[in-house]
């Protein structure tokens, strides 16, 4: 930008320089022509004598700006502002025409000269110094270079200032975006908004965030409302069910079905709540992941053993994360419950918890039937169940909840390839111990 302006002004200045240069040169030529015309007029009257007198007269009043020299036919000086003919100049042409003047340099000064031979072999030199022209042009050049330098500096400065102001304002919006991405949905830009495109952008971003925040709040409110509206009638049904006497098996079945339905819709609400809260640090507290893993493992281990599974847990103690203890317990409970449900006696079930680079790696692995390959891409979607598992109780929400809770904690979920069984890895972000 600054460079373009500089180049443009540089070419304008070059143009002007050329113009001034040619004007000055033509002025000098005009002077020279006038000199020649004057001399020609004298020559017309009294030939060489008049020329000699005029040149002598002019030589005594020498200004240093003109050079006049008249020689005789043997090369001896008749009159002139200097004694000798310049070495690098030969007379060309006859008469007093001012056409095709030549330039020559002598003693560091440039001269615009007309050298002629007058009738009878008298060489005549008429020259005007180009020193004033060169001085003027040199001054002009100096001025131009100074101006160009100033222009470049000013351009760079203006450009830098403009860029800085734009960057500052873009950075404001970037910082806001970062904060929102970290989960602060209520983050907004403070201060007044300018009446330009940046102000408009900020207004749009704010409107967008308001909408996201409202949707998020609506999700929260909706889950509470659903819970209330659905559980209250279920509650009445359950109370009435309890009054039925004599059909214990049937009422027990009904109660168990109701519990299943409640569990399913709790899971759905948990998933949507965890998804709505994903990325927000709110509600998360330092949790001893090792302790939670150990507790949940100890809860399920006897169940697995009773089913004939070979179990093994390797839990590195004192690994802490920022989390929700109950949600973490739910993740593990779902995974272990699944494993125990699908594995057959003799299968192995392992839980590992260990530091892994900047994260904490939790791996639940079994040697059971595993996931059918065609199911893998959608394994974590809601209500995804393998055909062969239709007879096993469940709703296909376990892994969806696991994924939602992992996302809530900013944990990474992977299904590493296995030769046999099902393996799931969760990499939890480690708690910064500095504070």
């Amino acid at each position: 930008m600054a460079l373009a302006v500089a180049i443009l002004s540089l070419s304008a200045m070059v143009l002007q320089y050329r113009l001034v240069e040619s004007r000055l040169m033509s002025a000098q030529q005009d002077l020279l022509a006038a000199d020649l015309n004057g001399l020609a007029a004298l020559y017309d009257q009294r030939r060489i004598i008049a020329l000699r007198q005029a040149i002598d007269y002019r030589a005594t009043a020498a200004t240093g700006e003109e050079m006049l020299l008249l020689l005789d036919r043997n090369g001896a000086t008749l009159a002139g502002t200097r004694p000798e003919w310049p070495a690098n100049l030969a007379p060309a042409g006859e008469g007093f025409t001012s056409e095709n003047p030549t330039t020559f340099t002598e003693g560091g000064t440039r001269w615009l000269a007309v050298a002629r031979t007058l009738p009878g072999g008298f060489p005549l030199l008429v020259a005007r110094s180009l020193q004033p022209v060169d001085d003027t042009l040199a001054a002009l050049r100096r001025g131009m270079f100074a101006l160009l330098g100033a222009l470049l500096v000013a351009g760079a400065l203006v450009g830098w200032l403009a860029a800085r102001s734009v960057m500052t304002r873009i950075n404001r919006i970037n910082t806001l975006a970062d904060r929102v991405a970290e989960g602060q949905l209520d983050a907004r830009l403070p201060g007044i908004r300018t009446a330009d495109e940046f102000g408009l952008l900020e207004t749009h971003v704010h409107a967008m965030l308001d909408r996201i925040e409202n949707l998020n709040r609506a999700t929260h409110r909706l889950s509470d409302t659903i819970a209330h509206e659905l559980r209250t009638p279920l509650n009445r049904m359950l109370q009435k069910l309890s009054r039925i006497e004599g059909q214990d098996d049937l009422t027990a079945d009904l109660k168990s079905e109701m519990r299943q339905a409640i569990r399913m819709f709790d899971s759905l609400l948990d998933i949507s709540r965890a998804e709505a809260d994903a990325g927000t640090g709110g509600g998360l507290v330092p949790v001893d992941l090792s302790a939670v893993a150990t507790e949940v493992w100890d809860l399920y281990d006897p169940l697995a053993e009773d089913k004939g599974l070979l179990t093994k847990a390797q839990i590195t103690p004192d690994l802490h994360i920022l989390g929700d203890r109950n949600l973490i317990a739910q993740v593990l409970s779902n995974l272990l419950d699944n494993a125990i449900k699908y594995c057959a006696p003799g299968d192995r079930l392992t839980l590992d918890l260990a530091p892994d680079a900047d994260r904490i790696l939790m791996r639940v692995a079994d040697t059971g039937p595993g996931l059918p390959d065609d199911l893998k891409p959608e394994a974590f979607d809601r209500f995804t169940r393998a055909e062969r598992d239709r007879s096993t109780p469940g709703h296909g929400l376990g892994l969806a909840l696991v994924r939602a809770i992992a996302a809530r904690h900013g944990a990474r979920l992977t299904l590493p390839p296995t030769t046999r069984g099902f393996t799931l890895e969760i990499r939890w972000p480690r708690l910064q111990q500095s504070d």
Partner: protein
């Protein structure tokens, strides 16, 4: 006679709670708005308050602080449709003594009410030794002896046994065990608790104490037989 205050806007639920409370031999009062409930709770003395959450006038959880500030020493059981783990933890963290999600089974409510009613009276049990005939539990040493023979227990089994002992003679539900012994506030679906109770029960029986019985459809009862049995 212990008095129980029911703050609940659904008449069906209120009637069910009242039936359970009266079955436990308590007198009950019922209020169906939050404001009336708080007024009753602070104006009278109750042993237990059964508090709903989404009430006309506000959330019961928010009212707990006001009830406490009003001078009530009642134990608060929240009975709410907001029954997900997060809701329960929130309620307990904000001062509720127990939290039962709707829909609830009458047996579950009765077990919890009973536990709360007892809580006020069994503080004496907080000494070191809990003795039930042949069965002795030493809290500080965390040891269990049956007929003076040491019964090795895992830490969780010990906590399980202690919880049973503290509620001796009463039905304890699986949900109560999960909440109190494992501190887990969600329904894991499978009866994982049964395996643990089964193991503890076998250990005690092998040592000669038949202490834990299944209460069909409800949970378990810790009822050690007299010494000479």
């Amino acid at each position: 006679m212990d008095r129980i205050l029911i703050i609940e806007d659904d008449p069906e639920t209120a009637a069910a709670v009242r039936a359970e409370a009266e079955a436990l031999g308590c007198a009950t009062d019922h209020r169906d708005t939050l404001a009336a409930g708080i007024e009753a709770a602070t104006g009278d003395s109750y042993k237990v308050i059964v508090l709903d959450r989404m009430l006309p006038g506000g959330d019961g959880v928010d009212a707990m602080a006001r009830i406490r500030a009003g001078g009530s020493t009642a134990l608060i059981l929240i009975l709410s449709a907001l029954g997900r783990a997060a809701n329960r933890v929130e309620g307990l963290e904000r001062g509720a003594d127990d939290y039962l999600p709707k829909p609830f089974e009458p047996e579950e409510l009765r077990a919890r009410l009973r536990a709360l009613l007892r809580r006020g009276t069994i503080q004496v049990l907080d000494n070191d030794l809990l003795a039930f005939g042949d069965l002795e539990i030493r809290l500080k040493a965390r040891t269990v002896h049956v007929r003076r023979a040491h019964v090795p227990t895992s830490p969780k089994e010990f906590e399980l046994l202690t919880f049973f002992a503290r509620n001796a003679g009463q039905v304890v539900t699986r949900m109560q065990l999960l909440e109190n012994v494992w501190n887990l506030h969600f329904d894991p679906g499978t009866n994982v608790v049964d395996v643990h109770v089964g193991r503890l029960r076998r250990k005690l029986e092998e040592a000669g104490a038949t202490a834990i019985q299944t209460a069909r459809g409800e949970g378990y009862i810790f009822a050690p037989l007299p010494a000479s049995a």
